[in-house]
């Protein structure tokens, strides 16, 4: 079981990292064919974005007009955006998404790092059994737990609360595994020296181990954040109150709210897509590294 889900990219071998620029090979005429194929594929991949964006800049009349056109008669405007931002719940949903995703990320990373460190460095009774149970639990699909978790949240009185969204999302056994594997590789000498000097375990952890672990902590954080930001099923189950919805859940309701307002629907979708795209443009390197290092274990 563990074997199936054990990521080689994060085990004994150091994480594979995509360099910013791959090896440059000499440019050959045959590359022209490759460029053309690649360009066609990239255009296909960008088409849904472009079409949604153009639609969002149309008036509702133009968006619903047949035949379909890229250049509307009425020209382009940001009317759909202003309407969605002033009349809809999008700013509130964005706030909810940011709040819950940040809290989920912080809690997940902190508790996973503490546990990962314990499994890596400290000999404690029951460690092996506990670690085995945690690794085996990677196989449990979160989707199968919606019914009992909903019942549990009902009992905790957490339906329609931020904590109801957050708490079931803070357990990431795969991240404990990835962090443990990372701590295993950190040279133990520094820690031992500090221990001999009388530093407590917690001090050793926070002042020696964590600073050495920044890259892996960043990778894990990015992965957890993206997963939390995009999670649909659980917030959809636990929240009914529109003012507490996250962006993905709120967007699901706009079609009924705005009716067949195509331009406004696309403006909402673009607005919801923007934050992560902007984050990606700024942190492209780190995100790609994060996916490459944690990807295998994170799914």
């Amino acid at each position: 079981m563990t074997q199936t889900l054990t990521p080689p990219a994060s085990s004994d071998t150091p994480p594979r990292i995509i360099s910013a620029r791959p090896r440059r090979k000499p440019f050959r005429p045959s590359s022209v064919v490759a460029v053309v194929i690649l360009a066609v594929l990239a255009i296909i991949w960008l088409l849904p974005f472009a079409w949604a964006f153009v639609t969002s800049l149309k008036s509702e009349t133009d968006a619903g007009a047949v035949p379909v056109t890229w250049f509307p008669e009425g020209g382009f405007s940001f009317d759909a955006y202003t309407k969605v931002l002033t009349e809809g719940n999008i700013p509130q949903w964005a706030f909810n998404s940011i709040l819950t995703s940040v809290v989920i990320t912080v809690i997940t990373v902190v508790i996973s790092a503490l546990a990962g460190y314990a499994f890596s460095r400290i000999d404690f009774t029951g460690k092996k059994v506990l670690f085995f149970v945690i690794i085996a639990s990677i196989i449990v699909p979160p989707q199968m737990l919606i019914v009992p978790l909903f019942y549990q949240m009902l009992a905790f009185d957490m339906i329609d609360t931020y904590w109801g969204i957050i708490l079931p999302q803070i357990i990431a056994p795969a991240m404990v595994f990835i962090l443990k594997k990372f701590f295993d590789q950190v040279p133990i000498e520094l820690e031992e020296a500090a221990r001999v000097d009388g530093a407590s375990r917690l001090r050793v952890f926070t002042q020696i181990v964590l600073p050495l672990s920044r890259p892996i902590l960043a990778a894990v954080s990015i992965f957890v954040f993206i997963a939390a930001w995009n999670n649909f099923l659980w917030p959809f189950i636990v929240v009914n109150d529109s003012s507490l919805m996250t962006l993905p859940v709120g967007l699901q309701t706009i079609e009924s709210a705005f009716g067949v307002q195509y331009a406004q629907n696309m403006a909402s979708a673009i607005l919801a897509a923007l934050p992560l795209i902007i984050v990606f443009l700024f942190f492209q390197r780190q995100i790609i590294k994060g996916v490459a290092t944690t990807g295998f274990g994170g799914q």
Partner: protein
């Protein structure tokens, strides 16, 4: 324990080393305490929000519980007996497997082709990577809004493109023959970028010397692709396959958002069936039983994968 302590004390005495303050037993106990203290926050959350729901869900599956909690009683395995005779359950299980087959193959092949092309080292690396990976960062709802609009029978771009080639309009998401394919296409667009990145990372780890040696032996580019690149990527391919199959079996979001399982239940996945029996029909007990059937499927597939990858590893 005592013998070990005695032995330790004896060796310490033999060495003439005085370590009076810390006996091995006490340091062991202290380690245990520290270990549990470090693991505790995770373990508590783990027990509360993972282990307990797994156990409680199984208990629920043995009851006739509804969302009101009324008339809930233990009914043994009756829910499971009902599930095995439930045509809709089997149908959604079948749809899930069909989606998994249809999506996994392109999600591996397309990702590989994209990675191979980008890895040729053409100019504009960041642009290629951005184009293919960006959809992966979108929430399912955004993907669904984009593609429902693309597939719109009168106003959608896809039918518009088809019509310029003189092809008839298709009602993509409302036609039983095309709905699943349409969802698969949107899914490939959405998630291929992830596998693409994993392949790209693996490609850059293939030693250059292998290609140089092959070139010296007179192997052409295509020959190198099939005798060096693809074999070197085999471990990555196996892992992507394993992860992709498991991910596809858990499909819910985009199907629920794009077709709500329709038309006529032809795209309903097993997770959606769990959701609907639990939260639309309010049969929590029965929904939990279906969830456990789904879990059994995941375990069986994982065991098969484990056997296959173990055999691959041995050979």
């Amino acid at each position: 324990m005592t013998t070990a302590a005695q032995l330790n004390r004896r060796t310490a005495a033999l060495d003439g080393l005085a370590k009076p303050a810390k006996t091995p037993l006490s340091s062991k106990r202290r380690d245990s305490l520290h270990g549990w203290a470090f693991a505790a926050p995770f373990v508590i959350a783990f027990l509360l929000f993972l282990i307990w729901p797994v156990i409680f869900g199984f208990y629920q599956s043995l009851t006739s519980q509804s969302i009101t909690g009324a008339n809930s009683e233990l009914i043994g395995f009756a829910n499971y007996a009902e599930a095995f005779g439930d045509v809709e359950m089997w149908r959604s299980l079948g749809n899930t497997l069909w989606f998994t087959v249809l999506s996994t193959i392109p999600l591996v092949v397309v990702a590989l082709v994209l990675a191979l092309l980008v890895n040729l080292g053409l100019p504009g690396q960041w642009l290629w990577r951005l184009s293919f990976f960006m959809p992966f960062l979108l929430a399912s709802t955004v993907v669904s809004l984009f593609w429902v609009w693309m597939y719109n029978p009168q106003l959608g771009l896809i039918n518009d493109i088809l019509s310029t080639f003189g092809l008839p309009a298709v009602d993509w998401l409302q036609d039983q023959n095309t709905a699943m394919i349409a969802i698969v296409i949107a899914t490939v667009w959405w998630t291929a970028g992830f596998n693409f990145l994993l392949y790209l990372a693996a490609l850059q780890n293939i030693p250059e010397q292998q290609y140089e040696a092959a070139a010296l032996d007179g192997a052409g580019k295509w020959r190198q692709l099939f005798s060096i690149t693809i074999p070197n990527l085999a471990p990555t391919t196996i892992l992507i396959l394993i992860l992709q199959v498991l991910a596809s079996l858990k499909v819910f979001d985009q199907i629920y958002q794009m077709t709500a399982g329709g038309p006529g239940g032809s795209t309903r996945s097993i997770v959606e069936y769990v959701y609907e029996t639990g939260f639309t029909a309010y049969r929590l007990g029965y929904a939990s039983a279906v969830a456990y059937v789904f879990f059994a499927l995941i375990i069986i597939v994982s065991l098969i994968q484990l056997r296959i990858s173990a055999r691959k590893g041995a050979s």
